[in-house]
């Protein structure tokens, strides 16, 4: 029995490899430079080039936009084992994701867990078809670290909710079709118990956006304003006033993404870059201080990777790893920030170029600036340390 299963999986691997080799255009097997290289889908979907279109359509036809979702929602219906094989083979060939979508990575899991079947049938197939570009509406100008203090108001008007307020850090809100939002539906309840999870069409009357420029120059972030926006009641996900449960679930997900869990991109080793850029003496880096900083970074990078594997292995045996998402988020982003700082030291003045005729030359300084946001977005490092001390170490409040 087990042997038959193994053979079937091996066949699947070979078929998958062959199919990917035949169908993934060569230019879709090169690393993405930045988010501009992604296809984002949506109502007004635009492809950057012909290959991107071919690749998306091939994968859509194969139902592999979301290969592991149920076929009734337009997914590929692959088992975990098959999906792992597909991911491995795509990584091996360097295939890009056919689409980058918060609908897949963020909203989808929440809908699977909390939405009614009717809602799932309404929203999930649009995601698997790449037809809806979703963005997230969580933070507000006065609700950052204290997210549960959010004030965007949803008033019950009988057949609809009336929304007033504003959201901030809404990535790609200016390009998105829909937003999943946390709104306050009860102002008298304790702050965690008056929040609901609502889906809002960005084309609704009264919705407007304004882009935010970051220290890195540009950014996908926006502010989003709701001025007497009417939202049908059937767009409420889960139980009224219990949206915080969904929010927590999604935040756990987001922390793991930002912390780099499940990331398959192969980053170049810092010491390799250092050897290309800096003088050596007797086969070691001539700058002893930088050398030891790179060694510390390398040590913690590789052991952090092992830790992700260990905790995932433990989770498979039933150990609850939920609270550990704060550890992943904290440690992963702190590592990334220190890596970018070191990269800047290693590349010297080349790494400081802001504007240049050579587009590639100006990437690093901007990525460096962007990295400063990593330890803030998705819950600051301090918020994560607070969660660890209270939920894991049981330190008193």
């Amino acid at each position: 029995m087990e042997t038959t299963m193994k053979t079937a999986l091996e066949d699947f691997r070979l078929e998958t490899r062959k199919w990917l080799e035949e169908n993934c255009p060569a230019s879709m097997r090169t690393p993405v430079k930045d988010s501009g290289d992604f296809f984002w889908g949506g109502r007004n979907a635009t492809f950057q080039n012909e290959d991107q279109k071919i690749w998306f359509e091939k994968m859509l036809e194969k139902k592999w936009i979301v290969p592991y979702w149920d076929t009734k929602y337009g997914g590929g219906g692959l088992s975990d084992a098959e999906n792992n094989i597909l991911t491995q083979e795509m990584t091996r060939l360097g295939c890009r994701k056919p689409i980058f979508s918060f609908g897949i990575s963020m909203l989808g899991p929440a809908l699977h867990k909390f939405a009614s079947e009717e809602q799932k049938m309404r929203f999930l197939p649009e995601i698997t078809a790449g037809k809806t570009w979703w963005c997230q509406g969580y933070s507000e100008p006065n609700a950052g670290s204290d997210l549960a203090g959010l004030q965007t108001k949803a008033e019950d008007k009988g057949d609809h909710y009336l929304i007033n307020g504003s959201k901030v850090w809404t990535s790609y809100a200016d390009k998105s079709d829909w937003i999943f939002c946390l709104v306050r539906t009860d102002f008298d309840a304790p702050k965690h118990n008056g929040i609901s999870f609502l889906l809002i069409d960005m084309a609704s009357e009264g919705v407007s956006t304004r882009p935010i420029k970051l220290i890195s120059g540009k950014s996908p972030f926006c502010e989003t304003f709701f001025d007497n926006v009417k939202v049908p009641k059937e767009n409420l996900i889960g139980t009224l006033n219990d949206g915080w449960t969904i929010a927590k679930y999604l935040l756990t997900h987001e922390r793991q993404m930002i912390g780099g869990v499940g990331e398959t991109d192969v980053r170049r080793e810092l010491h390799e870059i250092a050897k290309e850029n800096l003088p050596l003496r007797d086969g070691t880096l001539a700058d002893p201080v930088l050398r030891s900083e790179i060694a510390v970074q390398g040590m913690n990078d590789s052991i952090f990777e092992m830790t992700i594997q260990r905790i995932m292995d433990e989770a498979k045996t039933g150990v609850n790893a939920g609270a550990l998402s704060s550890f992943f988020k904290y440690y992963g982003t702190e590592q990334n920030v220190s890596r970018m700082e070191l990269l800047t030291a290693i590349t010297g003045s080349d790494g400081l170029v802001w504007e240049s005729e050579n587009e590639d030359a100006k990437v690093q300084a901007r990525l460096f600036c962007r990295s400063k946001g990593n330890t803030i977005e998705g819950g600051t490092s301090e918020i994560q340390l607070g969660i660890i001390s209270k939920r894991i170490l049981n330190l008193p409040s």
């Binding site: 080793e269 010491h271 250092a274 050897k275 050596l280 086969g283 070691t284 880096l285 050398r291 030891s292 790179i294 060694a295 510390v296 390398g298 040590m299 913690n300 590789s302 052991i303 952090f304 092992m306 830790t307 594997q309 260990r310 905790i311 292995d313 433990e314 498979k316 045996t317 550990l324 550890f327 904290y330 440690y331 301090e382 994560q384 340390l385 607070g386 660890i388 001390s389 209270k390 894991i392 170490l393 049981n394 330190l395 008193p396 409040s397």
Partner: protein, 373 residues
């Protein structure tokens, strides 16, 4: 391989924990120290032999359990928690590794059963300086008609006092290191002991024209460097496992103290200044757990990158044990620097453990060299 213990390894860990809590709690460490720095308790050592811990890494052909280093690592970790003093590290991890990987059948068949049964024990004599530097061995073993003449001075020999013999690292005429098994009662040897700040006794051994037979050479010409490297890797990884036990225990006691100690009418664990420091330690300890099990598995699988795993383990644990024991002292406040509580034992043992078989700097440097920079 999944980075988790299997059922048998878990059972071993649990039984070690239970046994040590019953038979070798930290109070025993204190009483041994107060009893003129006694190296270990003979009775406990015999019980440890009966538990089978000395047989865990011994192959079946010598009636060992061949259970592997992941298993032995769990025992080391539990011993670290209770600061158990026993010659398991010196006689099994160090000398045992030398003999199990020896090419000398005569020595193997005599000594492996004796070590495993606890009837005899051996110590490992490598260090010559105040720092760890296995690539600069000054002790010499000059070949003669009957065997070798050994000259040199060794220090930091763990459990050297009272050992039946020594595994001695010496430079041979061929310019490589050779390992020699030297009986403790050989002529020309002078053994003195010192107590270090962890209350452990460490020997200095003087070799003055010590004659050993050619049958005492542990491994054949051309294999010495490789064997020494394996012993040092094994030592670093097993010490890292012991250090993990010390770290988790010292941290656990500190968190418990934050939960109960009151000042300004509040438990001090309510203060964010302390909460965040404790949470950061938690994160570092999560990393420690991962590299320890990964490196122990590497020993069992003879991983191709064992050098790097060993150095990552000893470097990371060396870094973390320093931070954790320092924070443990600080967070315990005044009581922490008294001899009345146990937390200071962990602080002191940490300093010796991190020095043995290469400190943080040594292993971080080795990681860099292994990666070609």
């Amino acid at each position: 391989m999944a980075l988790i213990l299997n059922e048998e390894q878990k059972m071993l860990k649990d039984s070690a924990n239970e046994f040590l809590a019953m038979n070798a709690p930290v109070e025993q460490f204190r009483s041994l120290r107060d009893n003129n720095y006694q190296a270990f308790d003979e009775e406990l050592w015999q019980e440890i032999v009966e538990m089978g811990w000395t047989a865990l890494t011994i192959p079946e052909e010598y009636n060992g359990l061949d259970f592997g280093y992941v298993g032995l690592g769990q025992v080391m970790e539990e011993m670290g928690k209770s600061l158990t003093k026993a010659p398991l590290f010196s006689s099994i991890v160090l000398a045992g590794t030398a003999l199990v990987n020896s090419t000398n059948q005569g020595l193997k068949s005599t000594w492996i059963p004796a070590l495993m049964n606890g009837t005899k024990r051996l110590a490992f004599a490598q260090d010559e300086q105040s720092y760890f530097d296995p690539s600069n061995i000054a002790t010499t073993a000059i070949e003669t008609a009957e065997g070798y003449v050994i000259n040199g001075h060794k220090k930091m020999v763990v459990d050297g006092a009272g050992a039946d013999g020594f595994v001695v690292v010496a430079k041979t005429d061929e310019g490589e290191v050779g390992l020699f098994l030297v009986d403790a009662n050989c002529k020309g040897m002078a053994i003195t002991t010192e107590v270090l700040l962890d209350a452990g006794t460490y020997a200095q051994v003087e070799f003055k024209d010590v004659n050993v037979g050619s049958s005492q050479r542990i491994c054949e010409t051309g294999k010495g460097d490789e064997l020494l490297n394996l012993i040092n890797n094994t030592a670093a990884i097993c010490l890292a496992a012991e250090m993990l036990g010390m770290i988790t225990e010292a941290f656990g006691q500190t968190v418990a103290y934050l939960q109960e100690r009151q000042q300004f009418g509040k438990r001090i664990g309510t203060y964010q200044a302390l909460q965040h420091r404790a949470a950061k330690l938690f994160c570092e300890i999560e990393l420690c757990k991962s590299i320890v099990i990964k490196a122990l598995q590497g020993l069992d699988e003879s991983a191709v990158n064992l050098d790097e795993l060993a150095s990552l383990a000893k470097a990371k644990l060396g870094e973390t044990i320093k931070i954790v024991t320092n924070e443990a002292m600080q967070m315990h406040g005044g009581i922490g620097v008294t001899d009345d509580v146990n937390i200071g034992f962990y602080f002191k043992r940490a300093r010796v453990a991190q020095r043995l078989f290469g400190d943080y700097n040594y292993h971080l440097d080795r990681c860099a060299r292994l990666n070609g920079y």
